[in-house]
Subunit: 581 residues, 2 copies
């Protein structure tokens, strides 16, 4: 080793020892005769003292140093007169007698400090410098620790990690595939996996019993803050289990992570049916750090000649506790915010429950105070509350009110990043209607089993067939989802039929799985966690970017290495492809 210690470990117990440290110059202060330098590495920061009066060589080298120079110093550990008790090394300093510059550094394009002056683009281009900053590095250390703890927990429960292939086969179901032209099989392509779904099911057919993998997956979709073209899943599958077993085991995993990584003890996770989540929160991933459930008002408000309510499929609202003081201007702003195309509400109706006990609504023309008292009762509102109401087509109005609820929750400080509220959402629908293609799609994926009692409805009322499918939600973010799978060829073929596959297409795409189900497939099910999202929640971040060492931007580019890029004609020729640009 070039060093005897790291920059984070020396303390009062090392006094008098001769040590050698290596690291980066964080800061240098020339006090005339004495130069103080803070040297930094991953482990911490140590103060160096150079007596430049008596040592000409130290003086010269000290003068050369700039921010981020890489140095190696030898010296003696002394007690500091001016202690810094905020850092573990703050009681000591090193009286340097030898200084070697291991590498010089140009002035970095932005400050390597916890709070930096670098903009997003600049930091992306010099990602290797941004990664030097404590907040970013700590995220990746956290991610490492989480990966280790996931493996410890699952290993102890007899899960074995099996690597599934990255070069697989393109399938039309689901999101868009990234593809890889095959040189040895001209005209043919591999696809990168969107998940190891079929492979982990085959491992169950193989009798692996309990599988997991922390694995890169790929989706060629348009990007946003919490999406990357490559992302990481904790992928799991188990045989001979029930949904209840899976919920318990992975609730256990989540609790284990919170406990070991963050020192937080979580209680039992509540469970909510999908239908209730939609009815009460307008979302299949409700943020249950706070209440503010939806109250449906059709019975209360209809038939009073207010056409907006009378013509609406659903009239539904929330009680913004303690918000009666909102000004007309604030409410108008909220209304405009709701009318933006991203949300698309047509208007907002409100009812103030003033602190003096009076009620005042934006529709006083249609509803008298007696009727408003009924509204307040429906919301269990108290003086000082503000009732906010939307009306319209059920699915749309629920989505809009979900946005409003989250916004109000945020404004009321009910969405604290240090509070963690997990929730299982269960009994998802099996299918969802897709307007564009004019057919049903699998809500989870085509391998999810319907509830046995609902199978008969596949022909008569497919949209209401429930699946043995579940999501784990934390603070309104879906961090995991899974299902009990189909393990019988007949049911799987029926499912493909309802998804619009001809028998020939089903055989061509998924014949290997249908065949496998004929050779003794056990009942099985599983779950996959979005590892990037899980890490970002643990790190208190909104975006997954900063829990990924080298993320891509919204155009799928790595601006640091400048990729993607053109390739040579020779490469194209070998791969038997042309570009059409």
């Amino acid at each position: 080793m070039l060093r005897t210690h790291t920059c984070g470990e020396l303390n009062i117990s090392h006094l008098g020892q001769s040590v050698t440290l290596c690291g980066w110059v964080q800061k240098s202060r020339d006090l005339g005769g004495t130069t103080f330098i803070d040297v930094r590495d991953r482990y911490g920061l140590t103060q160096l003292v150079l007596n430049t009066d008596t040592d000409a060589s130290l003086r010269e080298k000290g003068r050369e140093l700039g921010r981020e120079f890489v140095i190696k110093v030898s010296g003696k550990v002394l007690e500091r007169s001016n202690k810094n008790l905020k850092i573990p090394t703050g009681e000591v300093e090193i009286a340097v007698h030898e200084l070697e510059i291991l590498n010089a550094a140009k002035i970095p394009p932005f400050l390597i400090e916890d709070e930096t002056d670098g903009g997003e683009e600049l930091r992306a281009k010099y990602r290797y410098l941004d990664l030097r900053r404590n907040p970013i590095r700590n995220n990746l250390v956290l991610r490492h620790k989480m990966g280790q703890e996931v493996r410890k927990y699952l290993d102890a429960l007899n899960f074995i990690e099996v690597e599934t292939p990255v070069l697989i086969k393109s399938t039309p179901e689901g999101a868009r595939d990234f593809v890889v032209p095959s040189r040895m099989n001209a005209g043919e392509f591999y696809a990168l996996p969107q998940s190891p779904q079929t492979f982990k099911q085959l491992l169950m057919v193989s009798g692996f019993d309990r599988y997991f993998q922390i694995v890169k997956c790929f989706r060629d979709e348009d990007l946003r803050a919490d999406r990357q073209p490559e992302f990481t899943q904790i992928d799991c599958e188990l045989s001979f289990i029930t949904q209840e077993d899976i919920l318990n085991i992975f609730e256990g995993l989540t609790r284990h992570l919170f406990n070991t990584v963050k020192g937080i003890e979580l209680g039992d996770f509540p469970r909510m049916q999908y239908a209730d989540a939609m009815r009460l929160y307008g979302s299949d991933k409700p943020d249950v750090r706070f209440g503010m459930p939806f109250v449906e008002l059709n019975d209360v408000v209809k038939g009073k000649n207010f056409s907006i309510f009378d013509n609406a499929e659903l009239v539904v609202g929330i009680n913004a506790k303690g918000c009666a003081e909102y000004t007309r201007k604030q409410i108008d702003e909220l209304t405009e915010w709701l009318k933006r195309p991203q949300i698309g509400a047509t208007g907002l109706i409100y009812c103030r429950y003033n602190t003096d006990g009076t009620l005042k609504s934006s529709v006083d023309k249609f509803y008298n105070e007696d009727e408003l008292t009924n509204w307040a009762a429906a919301f269990e509102a108290e003086p000082g509350d503000l009732i906010l109401i939307l009306a319209g087509q059920t699915d749309k109005v629920r989505k809009q009110l979900n946005e409003l609820r989250l916004e109000i929750g945020g404004r009321l400080g009910l969405r604290n990043k240090d509070t963690f509220a997990p929730l299982w959402v269960v009994d998802f629908p099996l299918l969802e209607w897709d307007e564009e293609s004019g057919r049903y799609h699998a809500m989870h994926h085509p391998f999810t089993s319907p509830k046995p009692e609902d199978i008969a409805m596949l022909d008569t009322d497919p949209g209401n067939v429930r699946a043995n499918a579940y999501d784990l939600v934390i603070n309104g973010t879906e961090i995991g989802g899974g299902s009990i799978r189909i393990h019988e060829k007949g049911l799987q073929s029926l499912m493909f039929k309802h998804l619009g596959f001809s028998p020939e297409e089903a055989q061509k795409q998924f014949g290997f799985l249908l065949d496998a189900f004929e050779y003794g497939a056990p009942p099985h099910g599983g779950i996959a966690f979005g590892f990037d999202r899980l890490c970002s929640i643990f790190a208190g971040l909104d975006s997954i970017r900063d829990v990924i060492a080298f993320p891509k931007n919204n155009s799928g580019r790595d601006v640091m290495i400048d990729s993607p890029s053109t390739i040579s004609d020779a490469q194209l020729k070998e791969l038997s492809i042309n570009t059409t640009v």
Copy 2:
């Protein structure tokens, strides 16, 4: 859980308990009135007893059962009269009172037994059935355990696992890249990484200090038994270290794996210079489970009018201990074997040291017994030994003799799969001459540092510049390799120049790394282990195929899922590419 226990855990301590097991029917024997069934899962095998005389329902279901049916049985644990002490569950059996068929199974296309009757192609097509066989499954369980232990060891030494991107940039240096057309950046391509080399070096520039990753890598090369288009590396990098530190830390990792996974204590690993490995074994990855070093004979044999020796650049041989009894026919066969194009020797010269003390060579016309006595002395041969000699151009003849040494070692039983002989090969050349392109290539990769004392030779004698590069070899297989890297822009640019890059090309391909070296890059180095090969050595296998769950065949095809395959015109259009087939 559908079961109370696995098929591998019941023993005499469970007598009298009511249990439920799930698993696959391994074997069923109807003894008339009683049916014995072996039920199997990943954990073991348990014997079931069905009293079909008294229970008509059991009788009927028992008759339906075939090999590989998936069943669930409930019953009571009884002591067996006829115990099988070879398996942990062999002292008990389950008196079944309830049998449920969870899934039927067609007769598998080959035997699901340790020794199967299935050919390679059939087993590849039904890989999910082949994976049911104990030897294959055990390999993957071993692999899981090795992965866990690698992570434990490195985590304890402050390494953190960082995921590097899979969608990166194509570079012309090294092997052929797999590429991925970018939909969002038409006409441009990502490449899949051949290794995370530049990213791990950037992590060192970022101050991560100690990085590792167990990571998939990709090379579009023609395949053979120990090559796959996608393979897995244990990839590591460290800052502020010397070569000596790296050898010690990863010798420690290897010892830890042998100790925890195989219960084998390995001593200190010997080290050998590359030049000595080539001189003594004709290989940079000598199998040192046995000796039989090369003996060079130029001084001993030249000048006796035997033109083959006189005209040869090198005359070199080995002493096949105790092989003097080889018949003329055996030696002729060996000669033919050496002359095959795969090896390409022109002939074999031998000298028998008979047990009666006489010496007899195939070139007695040129060498008398006194001279042969000198030969024998050079080989430290004893009566009963057989000296085998090749002559020719140094590089070629060393390669040929290496093959012969390994062959003889194998015949003499000196290459036992349960013996493990690790070896560090150090001081590799920096560059190697490539006939085809008429220029030097980096022997390890372009980021490897030359030995400082050899840098001056880059201009005058590039082929003899030594690198700070090292390989870990076990039993003649390279399982890891690495180097101390260049961390200065000037030296890296010089290296690119010697590899035939123009300054513009270097900047275009690797500008991000050259730039990074200007912002405070620490001295660093690392190593990568071939995880598939390491697992195959631990499993005692010659090929890496059976330590990979879903390998590809020699044409890069996955015959189970039938991939690669054609993709739709719509996909091609979206990606702005055409096929030219």
